[in-house]
């Protein structure tokens, strides 16, 4: 199982994502200027402040050569995980529906949050083993999920809402407490909290985040993309 973790100028958590992925399989960094995804079975678009969040978070990163390859990869059914800034990049690239806006209170907040698993049978959640609630750190100032009402209704109807903030844990104002969504085909998934920071009991407060990487490996091994 080989993960490719993108790296943009200004990425912060790409090394954390790399190390989390390495607990589950092989993983390499892919520099934003590279088109070659190195034969990765799954791509992780990590957190940070790619291009300084200039203009809009993720707006510039989505046009990098690596992202162009990722868009093709996703269209072919490859697994793509977007974390925090990565989620923003995937929305800007229109691989995921909706948009991320500044937190309602306009502040950066770092907090360990509880997430309800709404869709337990996706390539990103299938190895949760009965876990219905995840404890994962979130840290961002630009994480309010937005889509118009009809889109939100569609997402819910089609099971594309994968994770919701548990009641009282939504600090950014995301509509319908949405913390993570997938595309219609189910092979692209983005979330604002950081599962790569919840893979080790000593530093993560929990190991719940590891289950997301494990799910991806399971999906690849079973040949289930889309």
């Amino acid at each position: 199982m080989r993960f490719g973790v993108l790296q943009f100028p200004g990425s912060c958590d790409e090394v954390d994502a790399l190390q989390a992925a390495r607990r589950v399989g092989d993983a390499e960094l892919i520099w934003h200027a590279e088109r070659d995804l190195g034969g990765a079975d799954a791509i992780v678009v990590p957190g940070g402040f790619s291009y300084g969040d200039y203009l809009r978070a993720g707006a510039i990163a989505r046009f990098s050569p690596a992202m162009e390859s990722v868009i093709e990869f996703a269209r072919d059914g490859g697994l793509v995980l977007g974390i925090c800034n990565g989620f923003q990049v995937l929305c800007e690239a229109r691989l995921l529906p909706g948009a991320l806006l500044p937190n309602t209170n306009l502040r950066f907040i770092f907090r360990q949050v509880d997430l309800d698993v709404v869709a337990p049978d996706t390539p990103f959640t299938r190895a949760l083993g009965g876990l219905t609630r995840l404890s994962i750190p979130a840290k961002h100032s630009w994480g309010r999920y937005y889509a118009d009402d009809s889109t939100l209704d569609e997402l819910e109807r089609r099971g594309q809402v994968v994770l919701r903030y548990t009641s009282g844990h939504n600090f950014n104002g995301s509509l319908r407490d949405i913390a993570g969504v997938s595309n219609e085909a189910g092979n692209v998934f983005g979330l604002m909290p950081h599962p790569e920071h919840a893979v080790d009991a000593l530093t993560g407060g929990s190991t719940d985040g590891l289950t997301i990487f494990q799910s991806m490996r399971l999906a690849v091994e079973e040949g289930v993309h889309v």
């Binding site: 090394v15 190390q19 989390a20 607990r23 402040f49 309602t104 950066f108």
Partner: protein, 782 residues
Amino acid sequence: MSEGAADPRSGTPRSSPPEARVSDNATPPTVEDALALGLTRAEYELVREHQGGRAPNQVELAMYSLLWSEHCAYKHSKKLLRTLPTEGEHVVMGPGENAGAVDVGDGLVCAFKVESHNHPSAVEPFQGAATGVGGILRDIFAIGARPIAVLDSLRFGEPSSSRSRYLLDGAVSGIAHYGNSIGVPTVGGEVYFEAPYEQNCLINAMALGLAPRERLVRSAAAGPGNVVILFGASTGRDGIGGASVLASAELGDDDSDKRPTVQVGDPFEESKLLECSLELLEAGLLVSLQDLGAAGLTSSASEMASAGRVGIDIDVSLVPLRESDMEPFEIMVSESQERMLCVVEPARVPDVLALCERFEIHGTAIGAVTDTLRMRVFDGPELVGDMPVSALVDDCPLYDLAPARSATPVYAPAPATLALDASARACLLALLASPNVASRRPLFEHYDAIVQSRTVRRPEQADAAVLAIHHPGEEVRAAGDGVDADDGPAIPALAVSIDCNGRRVAADPYRGTIAAVLECASNLACVGAEPLGTTNNLNFGNPEKPHVAWQLTESVRGLGDACRALDAPIVGGNVSLYNETSSGPIYPTPVIGMVGRLPDARNAGRLGFARAGDTVALVGPFAPSLHASELSKLRGHPLPDELPEIDVAGVRSAQFAVRGAMRVGGLSSAHDIAEGGLATALAECCLAGGLGVDVWLDSFVCDDGDGDEDDPFRTFFGEGPGGFLVSGISTGVRALGRRTHVRVIGTVCSDALSIRLGDISLSATLVELAEAHGALAELFPC
């Protein structure tokens, strides 16, 4: 290329023509200009002597005035600082470099330092604090270490002041913006609110980094003929402000925005600069490296030359500029951020420039190392400044202080907010809600404390931050699929704390400073760490005033004695003086930062109670006093004339005992008793653990207990170094008695705090404690 300067492209020194004339830059500056720049008449005359009897020109005067400023030259503090202990078995790099460093095992060193950015932050708190973080991070990677953590130490006036709230909000946002964006976690810190800081806020930032020992680099320039390369952001007019008296052109009123005093930071640029610098060092391409901080190119180039006992030629026409029409003195004095200076052998110059380009940052050869022992500034072919390096850097006059204790109180007491007859319970809730004690969560939630995946103890989880030295993932991969094996190899870690109670130092500069150092080490002990080294930022008022000179002298004496007693030498630090206005000086505030090591992060201590039924004990010297305590502040009492004597040896033994017990997993929790005393510490342990506690005290719990004579409030709320609150299974707790005084005082229970002493009892539910403790939330409105 200029006539006299060494050629930066090839490094070939050219012989300078005899009598290279320094251009006059139109009308030469006057003595009045020198005074406006902060030099004294006597200093100006000394400058003239160093310049061979002639008046310094524009460039020269600008450079001397900066390098001879208090900030750069430590005129009033250097002699005192020389008395501090700086050597120790773990010290790899001591004071004098960009940062200090200690050996942490496995071939690695930890670089660390604290610095202040007080004055700029009072002008613009967001950028002042942000660039303060940027600057201290550069100091860390300038010696070759990768920054792994930041801590902040802040002081403002009381939160009732809207200006103080504004400064707090700006500073926290600025620190968050810079640290979060560059991907370095902010893992700890402290903030105090006291009236003496109202006009002079304090923004101190500490950073630590890790490096393989071989990658450590010094700043001394070396090798006449070597090339000086400037890399990073382009140069603009940031920070020039005060030097604008030297401008050749007349400035109209609408030109004031051309000479900003505020430096603006770009963490995105610094992130690239960091990677580029470390890559340059890894590739062995650099002879030396220095960051540009206060006084920009002036201090950077001069200090590199001085350290290496060489000369340096700089051609300002080669410096990449952000603004047009910058004069040579402006280029030399600019404090534009995110820039570094390095010395490179001529043959390696193309590699260095290519690497800079790969990281998308400017890299430009702007000068050369010479053997002239002079700092020469060229503007193309024209020599515009020529000064002896030693005069600039080493021969600034140093001043003796004339310390004299003030006969009358210097600081007014805070207005009383708590009645003298308030009940113990009311006092506890008031203390928990007071700005110096309440939870800092509304503040530290702005900080990413976990990026880089090293953080084992986050803010409010323990008395010190704990960071794994190696990424935990590296250990675990060997163990197998996502397993965090308890029987796996030990995970060595660093612990770090930053502390100072300025009010206690104001009461007694000698003992108050010792207390600050002890507290820092006690915080480390609570997580199981042993101190390796210390850094300090001395924030004081005007040293030319006798009582401030007395504060500074006594404080440094205490700092030295405490560091010697704890074997925690000073590896570097910073001094910030003149923090005062017509309403008086700040509290003397020697901020102490300490780094320690613990052998296994899996046993890192926590401050919260862990289990109902655990035994709770008070450990170590405990001679609490209400003098200079938080309670006495709330009651409106003035500062005492001195603090009680400290049993340093006793505190040291207690630290040893707690540390040792924590390392073997013998305790569930440990917390140092500080502001608010024993009752407050108990409440904090309850809140952190989500559990209650049942405590019975008698007044003999105090080492100097008087029995019936005692004021129970002294026992509950008195302060003083040395006391620890620990919890755990009974045998584990009592085992500490081999090394230090242990008094079992109660048991952890489920949901309420209850403390009894004779007839007096106080109790509160967790909900009530939490509500009081959350008082700072209103300072950060949404």
